[in-house]
Every structure is written in C-alpha cells, then in structure tokens.
Symmetry: C2
Subunit: 244 residues, 2 copies
DNA sequence: CAGTGGTCTAGACCACATG
DNA sequence: ATGTGGTCTAGACCACTGT
C-alpha cells in the first residue's frame, strides 16, 4: 500500500523500521486507529508496507517501548489508552509513604480563557498574547488534599473545552474529545514555601515546604501541548523516581 | 563453551536470549570483562554460547537498554563505565536553572564506621547492629554549595574504604576498588525545611525549603547496596525528571 | 483449531571505524 | 581490506488466546 524506499543514502539515512514506525504512529495520530482498538497483525502490516515481518516487528518494538501500543501474545496489538493503570502512573509519580500507589481525585476551582503570559507563550511555543485555557484544581490522595495545580493549554488546540464537564483524567479527555495524545513529558522539581493561596487549599501553614513540579507535556507529534505546575505537600507523600 | 538449554517448559520459560544475557552480565559482574574494555564480537559470543548471532544480538540489545554496555558501530561493544557522561547523568538529576548540566564537585566532611541504624539495616537488608560506613559530604555546582549528602554503605562490602582517599565519583570507586557495579536506583523526593546543620553548610536560612532525595541504589545482582540522603537547595537548581 | 505475538535461526548486505 | 555493529529478509517453530 504505502511502499517505503529502502535506501536514502544522501546525508540522512533513516532505517526502514523507523520509517515504518512513523507511518504507524501517524495512523494513531490521525485517528485511523483509535485508542484501545486492535491494529492489524504484524503480517498484515508487513504486507501493507511492503516490508518483511521482522522489520514490521521492530517498528512495533519501538512503539511498545514508547508506550504507544500494548501487545498481548495470542490476542494482538492495541493502541495504548491513557486510562490503563500503567499509563496513568507513567505520568503521576506522587505516592503515599505507606501503601499502594493510587490515582488522585480532582476538584476544579478555576476555569478560564485568557491571553498567554510570556512564560506560557514561551513554553507552549505560542505567539505572545494568543489565548490559552487555564485550569486550576485541587487533587486529593487517600481523601486528603495533596496537590494544587495550574494547567495551561493552547486554546486553539482545545476549542470550547471550558464549556465541558472536566473529568479527573485529562489526558484521556484530550485524546477522546480533541484528538491530542500526550506521549511524554519533562518535569522540573523544586522545593518552595507555601504561599497563602496553596496553604489554604492544602490546609497547611504558610511557609510549609512544598514540592513544585513544573511539567511540560508533549503530544505524539513532539510539540509542547500542556504546561502544568503542581504544588504538592510531601509530609505523607513522596515523588517516586526510578533511575535505570 | 557454555551451552544453554533451549527448552525449559515446566512452569518457568526463560527465553534463550535472556539466559544468554544473564551469562554475559555475570561475566561483567565477576570481572572477566572489565569496565571500559571491549567484549567479544556478536559472532564470537554466538559461537561461544552455541546460539545464533541474532539471539546474541538480542541479549546485547537488552544489556544496552540497561546501560550495562555501550556499542559503537564499526568498533565493538564495551562494558559501560560510570565516568561516561551519560552514565553519570543517569543518576545525577540536579541541574542549574540556566545553562548546561554539570558534574558537581565534592568535599567530604565526615567519614566513620558505626552500627547500622534500624532504618539503614532495613533499607540495606542488614542484620541490625552490623557495621556500616557512613560518609557525609557537601557538593557544589557552579562553585556554589548545593547539596548536603549522607551516604550509608554495608562495611562488609567495602572493607577499609574509610582509609581511602575518597574521589568525587563514588560509583566508579565502588566498581574499581570493590568490584561493585551500581546498575539502577530508586529515589523518593520530598520538600523539607532546612535544619541548622544543612542551613550552615549550604549558606541558607534555617527553614528554607530544600529538596530531600532518598536514594536506594542497587548493584548488578539486584541487591540494595547504597543508601543516600541528599538535601538540595533549589533556588537556582532543579531536579530533572523525564517521563516516557 | 486457527490466528496472534514471541523466539530463534541463517544469511545477505549496509554503514562505520581502523589499519 | 578487514572486521565491527546495524539493518533487512525469510522462514520455522513455540506460547498463548480465542472459537
């Protein structure tokens, strides 16, 4: 169907399996294959793209390593969903000191559309002054307010989102309603003192040390798509980081 | 040389390439292949183990993903060194807010051998009361004191280490002098208020929010080998975490 | 049983580094 | 020119899931 050139020696050599990966990713990206659905078998993909099964398999190996697909022996290969537990915990690292990892609940305390601040414009690569959607929420773990969070999104990518009933799992919303899949993110962590606003929301004294997480999240096409600043109390929680 | 059984169907099936990986890892672990050295070519390994080159390659793929070896097209495969920049930054995530990542300098301020605290014994899986080596140091980035660090090691694994001249890069020391290779680690992060001791070392006011990093590091054989608590000022630095 | 992904093999050729 | 790792192919068989 979509034959790939094997050789492109001049200055840029892209392996066949990576070209194949890009084609398969674009089919997820453009909605041809929806989250949770099975994609064609390795043999079919190989035939479609005019490559050998081993090469198609290597493309899928990469996509599995990137958490874009999930494979089940004997069943097939499926587009990853953001509500699979392991995908959620890919991004959510705050954990109770005792007990199991847990998905937080959310209460939105602010939703509005405004011109992008210089910081927001820079991080999201927007023209300064273009409109952004700003969400504020308080998240709880084990029934205890743990996180005060400000989320900034390009309004052009999420039109009229401010009129929706916002769910707990935003990344699943981005995908389902706006066709935006968050693939990876970068977080910068600092320790800061609680100011009046967050102290009130979290029920701690002003000046209490909080963990500030400054996250930029990137969609499948590699563009920065969400800016999120989270202030977390860490008296009974911690941020878990595995270095491999 | 060391033939592997292909089939072991009864209740535990271990792929050939993983059995091969384990054999290769043990050769790094026992010092047969030293850090920085080239290991035999894929063809030689395949012949040695009585497997096909593709299977040997897959074993090496895994080891490369685990940062145990580094491959260079046309040159060969080499045992990873902890002084390779990318291996250092695998574990050291504190970064100046402006500018490039940088390796910190160290000044040791305390070295002694003592009975393990209950916490230390639990984390390092030691009998309570067995002896541990405890190191304290202050680390600087861009010439500015940034981290106060307490490192706890099983004394039995690092005999007479307290008499050595301790270098900046401890993981390279562990490997070179004691044959212990640190392969991965887990970090728990919290925001805490500076107490008198760390405030003095870092030149900040008591009560300043600091980032506390509680790291347990595991050696090649999977056993907890080092416990490290780092208190970091994050006014001009941040902890970088990539979520993929 | 058929169909899927997972493992393993065997060999050809390409890209890169070194002598 | 040689040897290394990297890519690609083609096919066999194994393990698992559903019908």
């Amino acid at each position: 169907m979509a034959r790939i050139e094997a050789r492109n020696n001049a200055l840029g050599f892209r392996p066949l399996y990576r070209q194949a990966r890009d084609i398969l990713v674009s089919r997820i990206n453009d909605g041809t294959w929806q989250a949770g659905q099975a994609i064609p078998s390795e043999m079919e993909i190989a035939a479609d793209l005019g490559i050998s099964p081993g090469t198609a398999r290597k493309a899928l190996d990469e996509m599995e390593a990137e958490n874009l697909v999930v494979r089940h022996q004997g069943r097939g290969t499926f587009v990853a969903r953001h509500d699979d537990a392991r995908i959620i915990f890919q991004f959510f690292r705050l954990t109770p000191d005792t007990g199991e990892r847990e998905f937080p609940s959310s209460k939105f305390v602010g939703i509005d559309v405004r011109p992008a601040s210089p910081d927001a414009a820079k991080i999201l690569k927007l023209r300064s002054g273009s409109r952004v959607l700003q969400l504020e929420r308080v998240r709880s773990l084990s029934g205890k307010a743990a996180i005060v969070e400000t989320i900034t999104l390009p309004h052009a990518l999420f039109p009229a989102a401010e009129k929706l009933d916002l769910p707990n799992n935003l990344y699943e919303l981005y995908r389902a309603k706006f066709g935006v899949t968050i693939a990876r993110s970068t977080e910068k962590l600092k320790a800061v003192a609680a100011k009046r606003r967050e102290a009130k929301h979290l029920g701690v004294a002003i000046g209490t040390p909080l963990l500030a997480i400054d996250r930029t999240a990137y969609s499948l096409d590699g563009r920065p798509t969400e800016w999120r600043v989270s202030l977390c109390r860490t008296d009974t929680f911690h941020y878990l980081s595995d270095l491999k």
